[in-house]
């Protein structure tokens, strides 16, 4: 058991650390004293900071060199995140683009797409958003209904609605999963497109959550026309392309679970000032259980780094870290508010914010139920539930669903 860096990793860490020492004064301040408050200023400052990080080789470091990355291993990528957290500087603005969509374009995009889009994405000049989920296609992503129709001149016309779209309000481009063929089974008739967010017919609307804040958006497409070379990875091959994005999503979330800041130490400090709570055996028991499970997740994270270092992609079971994290944070929110009383629910209280944020996070990136299904099938090898949509053309499937709902 060795938690230390290899000599190469130690040297790389030193290199990252000295870059950060030299540049961290230029990082935008987002919390605490002197923090920026104006949303536009924050956005501008974070774009500029991402550009600097890209110049220094700290953004998209795992991308191949030919696309502006450093070609380093995922473990070196983790080293960068750790050092940035220690230096208390904000991360990159476009985590979704650089962490998930860029790698998808690198894997499936044309040479023209790679040379046009990857550079500005990496530097934060053009922020991207992920246009996958829809009101009726979340965990069952292959149910997307947004239609892309091929025109005679080779262009495509889009109609439909996307939802849960982070950063859409200031994104330059989106990677969009749309249905291009309704006469074949649902997983086969989809295509991935690059869509300019300022195109005519694109409407972005903030989606307010429990807290009142709008971190996500709904995006509407009304007769939006995009050129033929917007297709990524081939017509009707959108599912395969999307799976690449989802794999990178798992890696991004899995290696970043500590980043939420949910840990026993922080939760204990929230109630440690209340002498009655500190003595209360029920409070202690709840805190102990929450803290122990969250501590397990920290070490599960180290296990996944160790696997990566050994050349293995962490298995789907690491997805359970999200379940553990979210469910324990939910319990912690309840415990803290039970101790502190209604004041914990004040609009500007950090715990009120956490309490409001978590119910949605439970479904983000796939609901807990779907995640447990997937892990039960892929890790434990349990048989899937019988499906009613296999092999049925998408058009007939919709008709069957309507019939079923009416019955």
């Amino acid at each position: 058991m060795d938690l230390n860096d290899t000599p190469e990793q130690a040297a790389y860490r030193e290199q990252i650390r000295s870059w950060l020492d030299e540049h961290k004064a230029q990082a935008p301040v987002l919390q605490g004293e002197g923090a920026l408050t104006d949303p536009d200023e924050i956005l501008t400052a974070r774009r500029a900071w991402q550009g600097q990080l890209a110049e220094g080789g700290l953004a998209g470091a795992t991308w191949p060199k030919e696309y502006g990355g450093q070609g380093v291993s995922p473990v070196d990528g983790v080293i960068i995140s750790q050092e940035m957290r220690k230096a208390r500087v904000p991360g990159i603005l476009d985590v979704i683009g650089v962490g998930m969509l860029g790698p998808t374009i690198i894997a499936h995009g044309s040479d023209e797409q790679k040379s046009r889009y990857l550079g500005p994405m990496l530097h934060g000049d053009e922020v991207w958003c992920q246009l996958f989920s829809e009101p009726a296609a979340g965990s069952d992503l292959a149910a997307v209904q947004t239609r892309a129709k091929l025109n005679d001149d080779g262009s495509w016309t889009l109609n439909g609605q996307k939802v849960w779209t982070t950063n859409a309000q200031f994104a330059a481009y989106g990677l969009l999963l749309a249905r291009t063929n309704v006469d074949i089974p649902k997983h086969k008739g989809m295509t991935m497109f690059i869509v300019p967010m300022d195109g005519e017919g694109v409407t972005v609307r903030g989606l307010r959550q429990i807290s009142g804040e709008a971190e996500f958006n709904e995006v509407f497409f009304d007769d939006v026309t995009i050129p033929g070379d917007s297709v990524v990875g081939g017509v009707d091959n959108g599912w395969g392309v999307g799976l690449t994005t989802l794999m990178f999503e798992r890696l991004t979330i899995g290696l970043g679970s500590e980043g939420f800041g949910y840990n026993g130490d922080r939760f204990a400090r929230a109630i440690a000032g209340d002498p009655a709570a500190v003595k209360d055996s029920d409070v202690r028991h709840q805190l102990g259980e929450i803290a122990a499970e969250l501590e397990a997740i920290r070490w599960t994270g180290y296990r996944s780094i160790s696997d990566l270092q050994g050349g293995q992609i962490p298995g789907p079971e690491f997805g359970l870290a999200k379940v553990t994290t979210v469910n324990n944070a939910v319990k912690a929110g309840d415990l803290i508010a039970d101790v502190l009383g209604p004041e914990a629910l004040a609009e500007d209280n950090e715990w009120a914010y956490m309490i409001s944020f978590l119910p949605g996070l439970k479904s983000a990136g796939g609901t807990e139920e779907i995640l447990r299904n997937t892990i039960g099938e892929r890790v434990l090898g349990l048989p899937p539930e019988p499906r009613l949509d296999k092999g049925i053309p998408f058009s007939e499937l919709r008709a069957k669903e309507k019939e079923g709902a009416a019955a």
Partner: protein, 381 residues
């Protein structure tokens, strides 16, 4: 960062698995419920495998291995519900070695069987060293220790101590008038020592309730920290045993869920069944992660031993409770009968959660360490 087992650790684990596979321990755990004498004596196996000296330093005849290595052996014992002498002997050996006791080499070689009588270190709201009581919610006072030069005399009762009934020498922890912990080595056959060898519900765990009336032995030169470490080692070993038991329960349950059909399909395809099995997996993997943390704390961060091993015991205890009940549920009615091994897992879970402080005390200790500002500070590089 490399958290994989070393070649030596793989070998240690495989050797333990191999040795344990030569004895029908699960069958014995069932049959001995009716006739305790059929329970195999695993001391000869333990001696052959070198477990008694695992934690004893090489210059005193041991293997000089660490807590994590001991946990690997415990995990294998837990997989097959083996009555392996680990919870009593290993923490005893740690203290004997630390105190450079004259018995250490004989214990390392297996000539002398040692067990410790677990004593819980003080916490914020329990300032005394305490032991498991015969009954009731209140902790019992640790035996009263009266020191006279190199000898120490103990008076008190320690209930439900693992492996105490088989030991030749007992490592007793008492408290002197000043509140300090005192460890002493007392021969099991010495005047004033009576050991009630017993078991409850899970016959594969041998227990002893020890009564000390003016029992005199040799004072052991160890610190309070050493004694506390023995307590947390016991917690970590119980957690490791639990992980092994959970692994076995999950494997058996998953296999059954694939082959048992109802309404024309395998029961493992039903979401309710699948989610229950994945919940075992989730708790199992959380336990595995915390055992790595506990192992790391024992070898590298002594200040976090209490927190890490208590967290491991807490999560492992929950995992074992859950897995034991889920295993019965997956198997339906048959899972609640002697036709199946599931009741043996259940018996193990029921007893384990109530031994050596109990799972709940470990959970409370996690909170105590956090409130006292002794949570995790060391981050991996």
């Amino acid at each position: 960062m490399n958290l994989n087992l070393s070649d030596e650790q793989e070998f240690l684990r495989e050797a333990a698995r191999g040795a344990l596979s030569r004895v029908k321990t699960v069958e014995a755990a069932r049959e001995a419920l009716e006739d305790e004498s059929v329970l195999p004596d695993l001391w000869p196996m333990a001696i052959e495998a070198g477990w008694p000296g695992l934690l004893i330093s090489e210059e005193r005849g041991g293997a000089g291995l660490g807590a994590y290595d001991a946990m690997l052996v415990a995990q294998e014992a837990g997989r097959v519900l083996a009555p392996a002498p680990l919870l009593g002997p290993l923490p005893a050996s740690l203290l004997l070695d630390r105190g450079a006791a004259k018995e250490t080499e004989a214990v390392a070689s297996g000539e002398l069987k040692a067990a410790w009588l677990p004593a819980r270190p003080p916490s914020t709201y329990e300032p005394n060293w305490t032991v498991d009581p015969v009954a009731g919610k209140a902790r019992a006072a640790a035996p009263v220790a009266t020191v006279d030069g190199d000898t120490v005399t103990f008076d008190g009762v320690v209930a439900w101590a693992p492996d105490a009934g088989q030991a030749d020498v007992l490592v007793v922890i008492g408290q002197d008038g000043s509140g300090a912990a005192v460890a002493g080595v007392v021969e099991a056959g010495a005047d004033g020592v009576s050991v009630d060898h017993t078991w409850r519900y899970d016959v594969s765990r041998r227990l002893g309730t020890v009564t000390l009336k003016g029992a005199t032995g040799t004072k052991l030169a160890v610190s309070d920290e050493d004694i506390a470490e023995a307590w947390y080692l016991t917690q970590a070993l119980i957690a490791a045993e639990s992980l092994g038991t959970v692994e076995a329960a999950l494997e058996v349950s998953v296999a059954y869920a694939k082959e048992r059909f109802t309404f024309g399909r395998a029961i493992g395809s039903y979401q309710a069944m699948k989610h229950g099995l994945v919940e075992i997996l989730r708790r199992q993997e959380n336990t595995r992660s915390l055992l790595i943390y506990a192992g790391f704390a024992f070898s590298d961060v002594p200040a976090e031993i209490a927190y890490a091993s208590s967290a491991a015991r807490s999560v492992a205890g929950g995992a074992l409770d859950f897995a034991a009940r889920q295993q019965i549920a997956v198997h339906g009615g048959i899972g609640a009968t002697w036709e199946h091994d599931a009741p043996l897992t259940f018996r193990r879970a029921q007893l384990s959660r109530r031994l050596v402080g109990g799972t709940g005390d470990a959970t409370d200790r996690v909170a105590d360490e956090l409130f006292a500002g002794r949570g995790p500070s060391a981050q991996a590089a």
